[in-house]
């Protein structure tokens, strides 16, 4: 049953959030390319530099942090409202009476699924962001595909990928655990589920931003 619940959560979190991650990643890369090109007006700076900045910005910040902020809304509110509804409609009580460890059965699969699927989504977001940047660069005539690839390959630091993955694991834990706490401890009715869901998303976002700062200060 645990495995089944884990797989259900993987599908919910991974496949369920793919659409929004796909859209924001493409736009994130495209807009970053346009804005960097707008700011780099000097003729002595090579065009490939745009791609280099897009790559590092997306890998270091946009793919993990921005994606996780969005996922905090999408996944976090879903987790909080699902558990809150289960609490209010006595489904959690029903499981407890059966002798089931409800925290283990309901929350653990969510945290584990989030820690597996969110880093995958962030990797995809990174690739899509960089690809989106290339496409927008080409379509708007800012830089060619060759110039873009040249920029992507220059001064690449593999540690940046490692840093993004560390962030993604920590953010994934926050995205699943904070809403689980709020949802599991809901008391009252539909109004309280809504409040818990909002509080969960707000606290998750704040914690993500705080951890983002802390990790950047410690690891970079």
């Amino acid at each position: 049953m645990f495995w089944r619940e884990f797989m259900r959560q993987c599908v919910d979190i991974g496949i369920g959030s793919f659409g929004i991650v796909f859209i924001i990643s493409l736009f994130m890369g495209g807009v970053t390319t346009l804005q960097i090109a707008y700011q780099l007006v000097s003729p002595i700076i090579p065009k490939a530099t745009i791609a280099q900045i897009v790559r590092d910005t997306i890998i270091l910040e946009f793919a993990p942090t921005l994606t996780c902020i969005v996922l905090a809304g999408v996944v976090g509110s879903k987790i909080a409202s699902e558990l809150g509804n289960m609490r209010v409609s006595e489904q959690i009580d029903a499981q407890e009476i059966m002798g089931i460890n409800t925290k283990g059965y309901l929350i653990r699969p969510k945290i584990m699924a989030a820690m597996l699927m969110i880093p995958c989504l962030i990797c995809i977001a990174g690739f899509l962001g960089v690809w989106g940047g290339q496409k927008v660069g080409e379509l708007s005539g800012i830089l060619s595909a060759e110039q873009y690839w040249q920029g992507l390959r220059s001064d690449f630091k593999p540690f940046n990928i490692f840093f993004a993955l560390i962030k993604s694991f920590i953010f994934a834990f926050i995205i699943a655990s904070v809403p689980s706490y709020y949802g599991y401890n809901v008391q009252g009715g539909a109004l309280e589920i809504g409040k818990a869901s909002t509080s969960a998303v707000v606290v998750t976002c704040i914690l993500i931003l705080f951890m983002d700062y802390l990790l950047a200060a410690l690891l970079l």
């Binding site: 049953m1 259900r8 509804n85 409609s89 006595e90 489904q91 009580d93 029903a94 407890e96 009476i97 059966m98 002798g99 089931i100």
Partner: protein, 267 residues
Amino acid sequence: MIELVNIKKGFGEKIILPDVSAVMETGKVNLIIGSSGSGKTVMMKCMVGLMPVDQGKVLYDGQDFTNMSDHEKKEIRQQIGMLFQGSALFDSMTVEENVMFPLHMFGKGTLRDKKKRVMECLERVQLKDAAKKFPAEISGGMKKRVGIARAIVLNPKYLFCDEPNSGLDPQTSLLIDKLIKELTLEYNITTVINTHDMNTVMESGDHIVYMYQGRKQWEGSNKDIIFSKDEKLNDFIFASDFLRDAKEMRQLEMFQESNWRDKLKKG
């Protein structure tokens, strides 16, 4: 048999159950009745361990449930079936999966055996045809029956029902009452029902505990209620003129019945 020995439960300053002792008998439908806020839901939640008691003991066939380790409690809980007021069916599962759930968690045997048991239980509550439906696709009465099927799937020794008739029409209510009564006798279960429904009280109440302001005010059977002199109980049970008239008629009927019996005995 479930015994409550000097149970005390409060929330902060407010004491809900000051000192309650009661016995829920095996093979009988035990009812806890009382007006809203009388403490009957808290009493049931203390019984099943959803709320810890402040003082006192809950004994399941002599075993002290309140002072058990989590592992021991788990064993007792697997012998408990509970029907919730809102049915508490799992929305993401079909009717069949809902009933299968306790078997998946604790049942032994092959998947075929488990499916067979699920179908037996669904047949028992006349819901075999709804097996593949989701809770959102069935009526309130059907949900209650699925809840009953889920509660009995592990052959429990103790069955708890929290307001099983709330939100149901009188005919469906009677059907649910009949089903619970039959299951109690069939499996010799200790059944505890928390209810406001007077039909349930009069039809199924083998043993009734009337709660008033957190205390046990009256105890007896559905037959005793007719002749009870307890004012608070009478105000609660026979609240309307119609019910008071019905009570007097029933008293008269029972009196005449006993007279006829006496006459027949005398020959």
